[in-house]
Symmetry: C2
Subunit: 313 residues, 2 copies
């Protein structure tokens, strides 16, 4: 039985193809739905002959389904040494960079990734355990610059994908996914923590994690929509402070974050929002502060002005 | 060194005292801060002689610090058998019932519980793994009917509490807390899952879990404040539907939930909010639906009316 739900791309895609179960399943589904695609395989320069065999597997699969395959090679170990980051982080960043570059060069606007519901649960737990605000996890469709990242299988369970591939007699490279990163944080979460959590709760916790993430996503979306509706700015588009004067600090902080993001300020941290909050009041000691990305926040005439440093009036 | 932060109660409290580390520490801190209190010990009828020794320990501790001790006995196993719930759930419910009854009988308005930061992290994980929306965890101060539940140690780490008790030479009953419930979900989370998660993440995950919970709490608070500010209702206090007509579904659902709660509708589930959402549009097949607690939602003249069933105009 074909696993559900498949959020079928409505546009041509570049598919990130490792040769592992998930990306092989995604290729088969995209082919089944007649989605125009190219596949892109990145050789990480890590696993020697096995990695060569992964590439060979991808070549045969793509030939069989008449999909153009682009192959790239990147020396992850030496890049990781340069950057001081883990192999996993480096591999992921390089893979994403290559996928975007390839897509843009070939005239595609979308890249499809094979993340599924169990990956999503793992991401939710990972984000929670990092204390990140991004509990809501990965999005099925996310725009980033000129590229849209698509995750058509984000609602599918891993077991359903595996069962389907077996049913249709499609094999995959067992080691191609992540076995080379067996010691990584994500793999420990997948192989040890999620099973322990399910055992402790006496049930499969993946649906619960997804539900929690969805609920939090809905609260964030509702807040975002509410901020859009509220009269936060004056007709010139500057944040109008008297409106915030009698509001709880949580709403003020959310409004500041929303407003500064809209002004294009990047990398806004909690500390940064909190510093801007401290200059809002008319009797605050300071009336301006610096922001990331070369911006500055300045209180003037009951407004908050966000300006590029150097553009002071 | 005394563990921080202690949110000192500003009113007389009844303290739930098991004789375990956490409640013993709370008694010592309340005494140190001169908070007027009575202690209340509940014997669960589970652990035989050990439980008797716990009660004896509480008696001596209270005598030493001149605290009035009330002792109650409840037959948790037979209550659990009647209700079909677990020993843990039953014990917790009975303990809370007894604490509230005792407090009200003795003229107290507040009950202090000894939950700390590690308990909070466990609760956050537990809620997430249940798919509950209540990721934000326990509140340091929560009103429930005539009683306010206080958790003055919610910001303290377990290790700091233990270290302080050792420092001041105060012992406690090692088994009094939860050892009799060693097979429980919560204990499996505490003893297996949280350590596995910390190991996988290569750091102590408790602060991260608390941060995640706090951030989600702030988003919820910001949304609640935004809903208070928005012109959701007409001058008669009925939900004014044209305002919601062009808003995203997440904001509409949040507004419905907020409004129905304000009208006193209890136990609002996601399915229930979603059913009410389906009657909002003028061309919906139905214009009313039943709600929990004997309420009904009815669309009339571009308003949503919440009324007790039987009180139809």
């Amino acid at each position: 039985m074909r696993p559900e739900p498949f959020e079928c791309p409505q546009e041509p895609v570049v598919l990130g193809l490792s040769g592992g179960r998930d990306s092989v399943a995604l290729l088969r589904m995209l082919a089944l739905h007649g989605v125009p695609m190219q596949a892109c395989h990145v050789h990480h320069g890590i696993r020697g002959q096995e990695a060569d065999e992964d590439a060979q597997f991808c070549r045969e699969l793509c030939r069989q389904f008449n999909v153009t395959l682009a192959e790239y090679r990147v020396d992850v170990p030496s890049k990781a040494e340069q950057s001081g980051e883990s192999l996993e982080t480096t591999a992921r960043r390089e893979r994403r960079r290559i996928l975007v570059e390839h897509a843009l060069n070939e005239g595609f606007r979308a890249v499809a990734l094979a993340h599924h519901a169990d990956d999503q649960a793992e991401t939710v737990l990972f984000n929670l355990a990092r204390g990140s605000a991004g509990l809501r996890g990965m999005q099925p469709r996310r725009r980033e610059g000129d590229i849209t990242w698509l995750r058509p299988m984000l609602g599918m369970r891993r077991a359903a994908i595996t069962a389907w591939l077996r049913e249709i007699g499609q094999d995959w490279r067992e080691d191609a996914t992540n076995a080379d990163l067996a010691a990584s944080v994500r793999n420990r979460l997948r192989l040890r923590v999620l099973p322990a959590l399910s055992e402790a709760m006496d049930r499969d916790v993946v649906p619960a994690l997804l539900r929690g993430a969805r609920l939090q996503g809905e609260v964030c979306a509702a807040l975002e929509a509410a901020l859009q509706v509220m009269p936060l700015t004056d007709p010139q588009g500057r944040l109008y402070l008297p409106f915030l004067a009698d509001k709880p600090v949580e709403l003020c902080s959310a409004a500041l974050l929303h407003y500064m993001r809209r002004c294009g300020v990047p990398n806004l941290s909690e500390a940064c929002v909190s510093e801007v909050y401290s200059i809002l009041s008319a009797d605050a000691a300071k009336s301006c502060c610096n922001l990331p990305g070369g911006f500055r926040a300045r209180r003037a005439h009951k407004r908050l002005v966000i300006e590029a440093i150097g553009s002071q009036m």
